[in-house]
């Protein structure tokens, strides 16, 4: 894992010192957590769940910002990063908004019956 003392680990692209096993551990554990948490999601909410995970998978915005923001030898790399930001932000914004819009519609039965 990137230590604070090595400035070059901030630059994602440098492979030195990367702990592959730690990343695989993270992958394995979050997959198990994910499987368990998702299994408990109400079946009523599977459509909002999917639009929510749409927004969450737009976490690729992190990688997009890093590519777009760093200095590269050629501008075209920054440009690819910027297009990726547009696509990710679009997913984040529309994903969260539509999820909330759908969830607002789920109402309990009124008490006056």
């Amino acid at each position: 894992m990137a230590g604070e003392e090595s400035p070059d680990t901030v630059r994602h692209a440098s492979g030195q010192g990367m702990d592959y096993i730690a990343t695989l551990f993270v992958f394995m554990l979050t997959t198990f957590i994910g499987l368990d948490v998702i299994r408990r999601v109400s079946r009523l909410l599977h459509t909002p769940l999917m639009s929510l995970t749409n927004a969450i998978s737009a976490i690729a915005v992190v990688g997009s910002i890093l590519i777009a923001g760093q200095q590269h030898t050629e501008y075209k790399f920054n440009l690819l990063g910027l297009v990726a930001i547009v696509a990710s932000v679009c997913n984040i914004v529309s994903g969260f908004l539509i999820t909330d819009r759908m969830l607002k519609m789920f109402k309990k039965r009124e008490g006056n019956r």
Partner: protein, 462 residues
């Protein structure tokens, strides 16, 4: 600074997990959205304060964010019947973003000294680009099919599966060669091309009825591509969030497959909806029909009514009329429940959202497995725009293409009212024995008009 960034990512990961956890009930679900938004903000801010980001680039990033939001906001206003298309389109955007980042990473690693990828990260990068681009074109195809721009029927030809598997195998071999020696740069564009092509070919033979499964699988791929990006960038937040998304897609596709009694391979390579053996021996069978007025009288006598909605109800825009019917019946003290089949609609849970939009309380939406034991006590089942999900052939007829699929046992109820335009077999083209049963009364007509008539008769006689 680096430590703070990692802490921000750590908290963001926890918030993402809470966000999904709170989706376990409609009461806490909106809190889940807020947790998700907070997590995303934290992730973005944590990334922006990274000292590697050039100050002069912030304005471009801001511009990209504005453009993305300008596209995203209107996309969240689509009608709820179009949510499956929107979801597929969103998977396509996600795949594109991941793919483009992968392309930049690959070429950047050659342009600057000390940035060599190494075996592990080259392999991850190949997976990232492969998954990203195949999700991109595959999801565009799925969105096109759902929007009916692309023909929804399965497009098949001889040797299709061999060609598809061959394409995938070729792409994987390219990835392996590139991983062994990253200096074979020319292979990289080939991988991109194969991924784009495979995405199209993969979805082409899949029919409209399988879209709920396909969307779930693509959801999973979108997540896994983010995981691969995380491996390349050594970013644990990307891995964690991507893995959550990947497992969500996996579980939803398993549920969808089970609800249709099919396997993954069967969905992907089976071309459902094509192999309909035309078992048209219905000529001798007789059908009983009823007018809306008669149907209304039958309903008035009932004490427990179950409505089985299908996608046809949404197509006919009948859900608000169904809500009025629900009101009329509950006003008379009749218990009304909705029986929801997992594949009703075009994506997992679609029907629940469509009914919630019509203000039907979610507490009266009942899952198939919970309603089936109750069926013998049900006085009247009303089938609105559903067909295959109530077809008893799934239980009895071994030669039926839907044999083995779990269904809502509408035929076990005392009376069945089926609202249908005509006796034409539905979407999948399968004859439905339920309509010929003694206890079944067909009410012919457009779903919206018929349910409207039922409401009129019920409110008139009140």
């Amino acid at each position: 600074m680096s430590t703070w960034i990692q802490i921000a990512y750590l908290v963001a990961t926890a918030l993402f997990i809470f966000s999904l956890k709170w989706m376990n009930s409609p009461e806490t679900a909106r809190r889940g959205v807020f947790a998700g938004v907070a997590a995303m903000l934290l992730a973005v801010v944590g990334t922006l304060i990274n000292p590697a980001i050039m100050a002069s680039n912030y304005k471009w990033i801001a511009l990209a964010v504005v453009i993305g939001s300008a596209i995203g906001v209107p996309l969240s206003w689509v009608p709820l019947t179009a949510v499956p298309q929107r979801t597929a389109l969103s998977h396509a955007f996600g795949g594109l973003a991941v793919g483009l980042v992968g392309v930049s990473e690959f070429y950047i690693s050659f342009s600057e000294p000390g940035l060599e990828l190494g075996y592990f990260r080259t392999a991850a990068l190949c997976a990232e680009v492969l998954l990203g681009f195949l999700t991109f074109t595959g999801s565009l195809m799925a969105a096109g099919k759902l929007q009916e721009i692309v023909p929804t029927r399965p497009i098949t030809y001889k040797g299709q599966n061999i060609i598809n598997l061959g394409l995938l195998a070729f792409a994987v071999i390219c990835c392996i060669v590139l991983t062994i020696d990253a200096n074979y740069k020319f292979i990289f564009p080939i991988i991109i091309f194969l991924a784009l092509l495979f995405g199209v070919f993969l979805i082409m033979p899949i029919g409209g009825a399988d879209m709920p499964t396909v969307i779930s699988i693509l959801n999973s791929y979108a997540g896994l591509s983010a995981v691969a990006m995380g491996f390349v960038m050594d970013n644990k937040l990307l891995i964690a969030a991507g893995a959550l998304d990947g497992s969500s897609g996996l579980i939803l596709s398993i549920i969808m497959c089970k609800a249709m009694n099919r396997s993954f391979t069967n969905v992907l390579f089976g071309a459902f909806g094509k192999v309909q053996a035309a078992v048209a021996d219905s000529a001798k069978k007789t059908v009983k029909s009823a007018t809306p007025e008669e149907a209304a009288q039958i309903m008035e006598q009932a004490s427990l009514v179950v409505i089985v909605p299908g996608y046809g109800m949404a197509v006919a825009q009948a859900q608000h009329r169904v809500r009025e019917l629900y009101d009329q019946l509950t006003k008379r003290g009749i218990t009304v429940k909705f029986a929801i089949h997992p594949v009703a609609g075009r994506m997992p849970g679609h029907m629940n959202v469509l009914l919630a939009e019509a203000d039907i309380p979610y507490t009266d939406l009942v899952e198939m497995d919970d309603i089936n034991p109750e069926m013998p006590q049900v006085d009247v089942v009303i089938v609105v725009g559903a067909n295959d999900v109530v077809n008893p052939a799934a239980r009895t007829n071994k030669s039926s293409p839907i044999y083995g699929m779990p269904i809502i046992n509408a035929d076990k109820a005392k009376t069945v009212l089926a609202i249908k335009r005509s006796m034409n077999p539905g979407f999948a083209g399968i004859e439905n024995e339920l309509y010929y049963a003694d206890k079944t009364l067909m009410v012919f007509g457009d779903a919206k008009a018929v349910v409207g008539d039922l409401v009129k008769h019920l409110s008139g006689s009140n």
